[in-house]
C-alpha cells in the first residue's frame, strides 16, 4: 500500500539532497570537530559552513546560531536563560495555544513561583493583542509566542509583538518550529531576540535544532559542560545532522516558493473539496492568516481517532486533536482555547502537506474521506437527532 503522508507538521521526510550531504559524516569523516588534527578539523570546517547557511537562511550572523538537539531544547533554553540572567524579573508572557515545550515548561515554572500570563486567542485562533499589551510589565522577563500554530497553522504577528516588547526592554522569544521554511524570516530587520527551530520540520533529520540568540542578548547555557558552541551549549556536536540541517536551510529558500504556491494550492483544493463533499464540516482558523500547508478540519458527530484509523487503512497519514488520540481525555488545548465546541473538537483532523505531496494524492484523499465520515456517522447515535448535545464551550 502506498503511503500518503499528510502529517508534515509532525515530521517531514529528509530531503534526498540533505541525506546525501550527511552520509559521509556517518562513515568516513567521523572526526570530532573540536580536535586539533586535520582529520577532525575538516568536520569542524563543515559545521562552520552549516552555521553560515543557517544564518543566511534566517538573516542572522553565524555567531548568533546555536545548534541544539531539538526544538524543545531550544525553547527550554530560551525561557530558562531569560529567568537566569534577569533574577529580578519573575514574569513570563505566553499564549494559551503554545506547543507543550513552552506550555508545560511554563506551568512547571509557575509551581516554582514564576508568574505566567497566557494570552487568549479568538475563535479563529488570533492573538488578543490588547490583552498582550496590557500584560507587559516591568517584572516581565520574557515573552514567548509561537510564530505559527502546529495544529491550525494560524500565524501570530510576532514581529509586531516583538517590537512592543523591545520598547519596554523585555526579551522576546518565538517558537518558529512550524513557521521556518514556510514563511519568510529575516532576523536582521526584526526585534526578535531569540528564535527556536527544529530540523526535522524542514526536511532535515530528527535530533537537531537551532536556537538563535541575537548579539548582545543576555544568555545562560542550559547544557553546561564542554566549550562547544562557544560554551553556549555543551556536548559533542551531532555532526552529520548539523551538516544536514545546513543543507536543508539552503534548500528551504527554494522550497519556500513552492510552499506558498504549489503546496498552498493543493491545501486549498483539499480543503474546498472536503467542505463541499462532506456536510457539517468546518475549517478551524480559516478566518485567520495561516501557514500555506496546514488544514485543520472538524467533522461533526464523529470522533477523530476513528477517522484516523479508517484513513490508515488506505495509507493516509494525518493527525487529530481528539481526546482519544492524545491519551488525555480532553480534546486539544488549542481548539478549546479557540472555543471550538466539543462536538467539533473531538472530530478534528489536521492535514499538513509538504512539497512532496502531489495532485494525485489530494484526489485520492478527497475521494476516500467522504465515505469514511459517512461510515462513522452511520454508527453515531447523534446523527439522526442532529442535536448538539452539551456543546459546552471553554
Amino acid at each position: 500500500m502506498k503511503t500518503i503522508y499528510m502529517d508534515n507538521n509532525a515530521t517531514t521526510r529528509v530531503a534526498p539532497e540533505v541525506l546525501e550531504a550527511m552520509m559521509p559524516y556517518f562513515g568516513e569523516f567521523y572526526g570530532n570537530p573540536s580536535s586539533a588534527h586535520t582529520f577532525g578539523g575538516q568536520v569542524g570546517h563543515k559545521i562552520r559552513e552549516a552555521r553560515e547557511k543557517v544564518a543566511a537562511f534566517l538573516g542572522a550572523h553565524p555567531d548568533e546560531i546555536i545548534f541544539t538537539s531539538c526544538g524543545s531544547e531550544s525553547d527550554n533554553t530560551a525561557i530558562l536563560s531569560a529567568l537566569q540572567t534577569q533574577e529580578g524579573k519573575r514574569h513570563i508572557v505566553t499564549s494559551r495555544v503554545e506547543h507543550p515545550a513552552i506550555k508545560v515548561l511554563c506551568s512547571h515554572l509557575a509551581k516554582r513561583g514564576v508568574r505566567v500570563t497566557e494570552i487568549p486567542v479568538d475563535r479563529e485562533g488570533r492573538l488578543d493583542m490588547e490583552r498582550y499589551e496590557e500584560s507587559l510589565t516591568e517584572d516581565t522577563a520574557i515573552v514567548s509566542l509561537m510564530w505559527a500554530n502546529n495544529e491550525t497553522g494560524v500565524l501570530f504577528p510576532v514581529e509586531e509583538a516583538a517590537r512592543m516588547a523591545k520598547e519596554r526592554g523585555i526579551l522576546f522569544h518565538t517558537d518558529a518550529v512550524q513557521a521556518a521554511g514556510k514563511i519568510p524570516i529575516d532576523l536582521d530587520r526584526s526585534a526578535i531576540d531569540m528564535l527556536s527551530i527544529s530540523g526535522h520540520k524542514l526536511h532535515a533529520p530528527k535530533g537537531v535544532g537551532i536556537l538563535y540568540v541575537r548579539k548582545g542578548t543576555p544568555y545562560a547555557p542550559f547544557l553546561i559542560g564542554g566549550h562547544q558552541e562557544h560554551g553556549r551549549r555543551g556536548g559533542t556536536e551531532n555532526t552529520a545532522s548539523i551538516i544536514g540541517l545546513g543543507r536543508a536551510c539552503e534548500l528551504a529558500k527554494d522550497h519556500m516558493a513552492k510552499e506558498n504556491t504549489r503546496v498552498r494550492a493543493l491545501r486549498d483544493r483539499l480543503e474546498q473539496e472536503i467542505l463541499t463533499r462532506v456536510p457539517r464540516t468546518r475549517v478551524n482558523g480559516a478566518g485567520a492568516e495561516r501557514l500555506p500547508n496546514t488544514s485543520n478540519i472538524s467533522f461533526e458527530f464523529v470522533e477523530g481517532e476513528a477517522i484516523l484509523l479508517l484513513m490508515d487503512e488506505f495509507g493516509i497519514c494525518a493527525s487529530s486533536g481528539s481526546a482519544c488520540t492524545s491519551g488525555s481525555l480532553q480534546p486539544s488545548h488549542v481548539l478549546r482555547a479557540m472555543g471550538v465546541p466539543f462536538t467539533m473538537a473531538h472530530g478534528s483532523i489536521r492535514f499538513s502537506l509538504s512539497i512532496y505531496n502531489t495532485e494525485d494524492e489530494v484526489n485520492f484523499v478527497v475521494e476516500k474521506v467522504p465515505a469514511i465520515i459517512e461510515k462513522l456517522r452511520s454508527l453515531s447515535p447523534f446523527r439522526k437527532t442532529e442535536e448538539v448535545a452539551c456543546a459546552r464551550e471553554v
Binding site: 470522533e303 484509523l309 487503512e313 481528539s322 482519544c324 481525555l329 447515535p381 447523534f382 452539551c390
Partner: protein, 274 residues
C-alpha cells in the same frame, strides 16, 4: 498509535450489530458528545426474558465502537438475568484486552447495558445516584467506588483510565484519592483479620512454600524459615542463594514483598547465617 488487539481492530473495521433496531423494547443511552463518547444500546427481549437481538450506535474512538459491538455479541441469546452479570472486564476480555487508557470504553458498554435492562424492567431512568466528584466528566462518587472495587484500582490514574474521572481539570484528584483509600481500606479489613501468632507462622510457611520457593528453586536456590519473633522473620538461604552476593537483595525484594502481600505489611525479613 494505540496498541489494539487484532480483535479490537476487526470489531472496529467490521462492527457486528451496528445500526438501529426498530423492534427494540429496551433502550439504554449513556455518555455525551461533550465527553467524547456516547453509546445507544437497543435490545429486543422476548417473552421468556431472552435477548433475541441487540444493536448499537456509538460515537467514539475505535475501542468504544469495538466495545459496543463486542457487548452486543456477548448478550445476544442470553437471558436478562445472565446479561446482568456481565462486567466491563468481560467486554475487555472478549476483545483480547484493551489498552489501560481505554478501559473506560468497556465501562461505557456496561453502563449502556444496565440502562437498557433498567428500561426493559420499566424502572425509571433514574437520576445518577451519589454526588458528582468529577465535574468535567460528570462522574459520581458511587461510580468511582464501584470501579475501584470491581477492578481493584489503586491510583488516581487508574480511576481516570476506567471512569474518566479526574481526566480534566484535575481538581477532584484529592477526593478520588480519598475514595480509593476508603474502598481499599474495606478490602484490607475483610481480607486481613488480626493474626494470632500461630496463624501468622502458618501463613508465612504457606507463602514461602507457594509463592517464594518455586521461583528461587528455578535459579538453583532455596530458603528455609528459621524462626518468627514478633514481626521479624528469620530465614536461611541454601544452594545458589547462599553463595550469591545479591542474596540480601533477593531476600529483601522477593521474600519481603510476597510476605507483605500475602501475610502482613509489617513483617521484616532477616537472614541468619548458619
Amino acid at each position: 498509535m494505540w496498541d489494539y488487539t487484532d480483535k479490537v481492530k476487526e470489531y472496529f473495521l467490521n462492527p457486528r450489530n451496528a445500526g438501529e433496531l426498530k423492534e427494540a423494547n429496551a433502550v439504554g443511552e449513556v455518555g455525551s458528545m461533550a465527553c467524547g463518547d456516547a453509546m445507544k444500546l437497543m435490545l429486543k427481549v422476548n417473552d421468556e426474558g431472552v435477548i433475541e437481538d441487540a444493536r448499537f450506535l456509538t460515537f467514539g474512538c475505535a475501542s468504544a465502537i469495538a466495545s459496543a459491538s463486542a457487548l452486543t455479541e456477548l448478550i445476544k441469546g442470553k437471558t436478562v438475568e445472565e446479561a446482568e452479570k456481565i462486567t466491563n472486564q468481560d467486554i475487555a476480555k472478549y476483545l483480547g484486552g484493551l489498552p489501560k487508557e481505554k478501559m473506560h470504553c468497556s465501562v461505557l458498554g456496561r453502563q449502556a447495558m444496565e440502562a437498557a435492562l433498567a428500561d426493559y424492567k420499566g424502572e425509571k431512568v433514574q437520576e445518577k445516584e451519589g454526588t458528582i466528584v468529577c465535574e468535567c466528566f460528570g462522574v459520581t462518587d458511587l461510580e468511582i467506588e464501584r470501579a475501584v472495587r470491581e477492578n481493584n484500582l489503586k491510583t488516581v490514574e487508574e480511576v481516570t483510565d476506567y471512569t474518566k474521572a479526574g481526566g480534566g481539570c484535575e481538581s477532584c484528584h484529592e477526593t478520588i484519592r480519598e475514595i480509593i483509600a476508603r474502598v481499599q481500606g474495606e478490602g484490607a479489613v475483610t481480607q486481613r483479620p488480626k493474626l494470632s501468632n500461630i496463624k501468622k507462622i502458618k501463613l508465612i510457611e504457606e507463602t514461602i512454600e507457594r509463592e517464594i520457593r518455586p521461583s528461587l528453586q528455578q535459579d538453583g536456590g532455596d530458603v528455609d524459615l528459621v524462626d518468627v519473633i514478633g514481626n521479624r522473620v528469620l530465614v536461611a538461604t541454601r544452594g545458589a542463594c547462599a553463595l550469591c552476593h545479591a542474596s540480601e537483595i533477593t531476600l529483601k525484594s522477593l521474600v519481603e514483598a510476597k510476605l507483605h502481600e500475602f501475610v502482613s505489611p509489617d513483617l521484616v525479613v532477616e537472614e541468619v547465617k548458619e
